[in-house]
Symmetry: C2
């Protein structure tokens, strides 16, 4: 996409009072819904420019390249907008797992017979991925919804 | 689910400052993502009690039984919670279309070669479904995101 086309799409989106739209990431192959997060105009622009999904981290209040810490990036295969323009469906190729708890999908808890049970594919150990001190700084903590 | 089990699930959810969680509705058969909307505690309770998806309409500020006007109800097949507990994935059997514009899915606009194009299955005519005056009251208008 060229810059003009990108800005046109960014203009169509309806951002909420915090300047955000909702993003649903779905596995382009299996159809599994992997996570929900948010993006501001800049994050959507970066996603369209690079083909790698960027979000806005509400907990850290900063642009968030998904996989910047874990390497578990999301490559865009298809992008869809909903009727209101306040939600975006990104069909992606997910490397590793989407969830910061080590699961393929953030939706690893399911209701079965009235009880919530864990039923999801664990694909990495969050301790190994996030808790290695880098230059003396422990980078764990502060993450919410989706692996960094 | 009995009342105690339902209240336990409602307690696990993390509601935002407006008392809402995000709901993603996915076709249980095809895996197609149909819509995104919101639910408050009462709407989730009604969904769990009845097996029919209820939302909170932010535009109308009221409990919203999906399909109350259109008949296009969503029957629950599976319910999943994300890691943060602020998003719920409902796998459903959708009668008719999920979108108030007549499409099967609200995500009927897709980016192709830098342009946004309509590419979705139209399953009903919104004029027929919503614009019949009932007792002299025209019930169209005011709907956002997902058919009523």
């Amino acid at each position: 996409m060229n810059d003009e086309q990108i800005e046109k799409v960014l203009d169509i989106l309806k951002y909420d009072s915090a300047g955000l739209v909702t993003i649903v990431a779905q596995d382009a192959g299996s159809g599994e819904v992997l996570m929900i997060a948010h993006a501001n105009r800049e994050a959507v622009r970066k996603t369209l420019q690079t083909g790698i999904v960027h979000y806005w981290s509400r907990s850290r209040q900063k642009l968030w390249l998904k996989g910047e810490t874990s390497g578990h990036v999301q490559r865009v295969r298809e992008i869809r907008l909903d009727c209101d323009g306040d939600a975006v469906l990104v069909k992606i190729e997910q490397s590793g797992g989407a969830c910061h708890e080590g699961y393929r999908s953030c939706f690893f808890r399911v209701l079965r017979d009235g009880r919530l049970v864990v039923e999801g594919e664990k694909v990495f150990d969050p301790k190994t991925v996030y808790e290695t001190p880098v230059s003396g700084i422990n980078r764990s903590g502060g993450s919410r919804g989706g692996s960094r």
